[in-house]
Subunit: 314 residues, 2 copies
């Protein structure tokens, strides 16, 4: 099979042996695989794949068709349309996925949308609802509202009856983010727009002192990205005074059973919203697998709304 | 009535009008009232009493006898032995308490123990179990194991089947802390004693970077004191990698309904441990109310195990 391959911090397309499913594994013919911030870090050698996943083939999410099953796999049949988060190896013609990580593709969703759904909607759902416990009527601030996780979080929070404010760096994208249901504001304006019950932090350290100031009593900050730096200052007396909570989280390092629970939660609480057309996956751009390097450049350039997705086959 | 009174950052004993209970209030003849870190801050003008409490009479916990009830108060009868956390005003001969904040004094507990129970056991229970969700078999680190909240947290965690390590600054007190069921260690030694599932932070900012290093995956840090300073550094990437949670909390600023819930939880989950003799209130020293200034000096001097308590009457 062909696969995007990391060589000396560059993306190549190389031939790899076809993988074979054993036990509860399913072999998926990948039709679409979204790019994520983690891929950029892995390309730079900063975010290695967890044990059991290909070291040199990037890609943390995919959608495609079941083409073969291990002897213990029973959840799906050949030809089923499935999607999943994986620890790595998604940006290839074929990928192995444990069947407990697979989710059915909602009816009516095309391949690019399905291939860019799992990582960002699972991440946003986990951070905003499972970790931070956003409730109807609360006010959510999304830092980085134009990205994949940001657009997912805005839509999920709106569908759950919350009010959403989102910071958006690019002037050109603010209108599109507003169309998702958020009040879209420049990054430097957020402090006076609170108080916020939940803050989804995708940008990182520099925001933290003002996050705490803008937080409501009993508020929660969910940190899942540090693109602007990991170091931050924390005033513990302010944290106590607000009775606040700060969560840090990543999906990738979790054990199989936790990832399986995340997939079940998304099947139950998120996929029905796609079936009813209440949420969607904004796809900024698609590239054929053979042009993966160009897709990485497009992702790194920023200034886009939603996902960059690699597509395979037809 | 006589009451400890804050004048120009000093503790005096002054005459105040006897308070009268209305509605759901209960008038308590105070028999014992513990000192807490918050009193020291209030004396310095840094931690004012919340609205509705005496501004100049300190004291956040008490035990005593019901001597009169407001017209809507039904929970206790005259003469009942009660104890409570209050927003202020406990260090006096008489104090008004909303009946939903009162708890019955466990059978067999003497006045100094009862007067030093509510604040530290409620705080420890809330921080360790309600906020941080300590589970049987987990490993708790208590920073400041010899103080009131520290000794309460150690005993509650042991009674709940957790393992406890406690830092103790004073060499002389380490043996007494160990007798409560903790592995007692010098403050600077904690980093290599982990991983810890829950860290109870009573000391503050300087510990935070090493707290995060010593935390287990999925661990929780509960910050309820900053005696060594409020400023800290937080590496968000480390927080994400550990999938960790940092809580800040105070009891004093909470609304009546939350304080009532705390009292009901302590009645259900903590007071039975006193009745069975599984936990106790270590009382380091008692002072008559008239010597409140000396009690504050004793508290501030440190180097004690457990509570400093003012006693009234007899």
């Amino acid at each position: 099979m062909l696969a995007a391959t990391i060589r000396d911090q560059e993306i190549m397309i190389e031939q790899h042996p076809d993988p074979e499913p054993v036990g509860e594994e399913v072999l998926v013919r990948v039709r679409a695989a979204g790019l994520n911030g983690g891929d950029m870090m892995q390309k730079r050698g900063l975010y290695p794949a967890p044990p059991g996943y290909p070291e040199d083939i990037p890609g943390m999410e995919l959608a495609g068709e079941v083409v073969a099953m291990g002897s213990k796999s029973t959840r799906f049949e050949e030809g089923a349309r499935v999607m999943a988060i994986v620890g790595g190896g998604a940006q290839a013609e074929l990928a192995l996925v444990h069947e407990r990580l697979l989710m059915p593709v909602p009816a009516g969703l095309d391949w690019p949308a399905a291939g860019g759904l799992a990582e960002v909607f699972t991440t946003a759902h986990d951070a905003v609802f499972v970790q931070a416990g956003l409730r109807p009527g609360e006010h959510l601030l999304v830092h980085g509202g134009a990205g994949g996780v940001g657009t997912a979080a805005i839509q999920l929070a709106r569908a759950a009856g919350a009010r959403v404010t989102a910071t958006v760096r690019s002037d050109a994208l603010r209108e599109q983010v507003a169309a998702l249901g958020a009040t879209a504001i420049p990054c430097e304006d957020f402090a006076e727009r609170g108080p916020f019950d939940v803050i989804l932090e995708l940008v990182g350290g520099p925001n933290m002192p003002e996050n705490l100031t803008a937080l409501a009593t009993g508020g929660r900050i969910s940190v899942i990205g540090v693109s602007a730096g990991a170091k931050s200052e924390l005033n513990l007396l302010a944290l106590m005074g607000k009775r606040a909570r700060i969560h840090g989280s990543t999906l990738r390092a979790r054990p199989l059973e936790e990832k399986g629970l995340n997939a079940r939660l998304v099947e139950r609480e998120v996929l029905p919203l796609f079936e009813r057309g209440e949420v969607s996956v904004p796809v900024a751009d698609t590239f054929p697998l053979a042009e993966a390097a160009a897709a990485y450049e497009r992702f790194a350039a920023g200034g886009k709304l939603g996902k960059v997705v690699l597509v395979c086959g037809e």
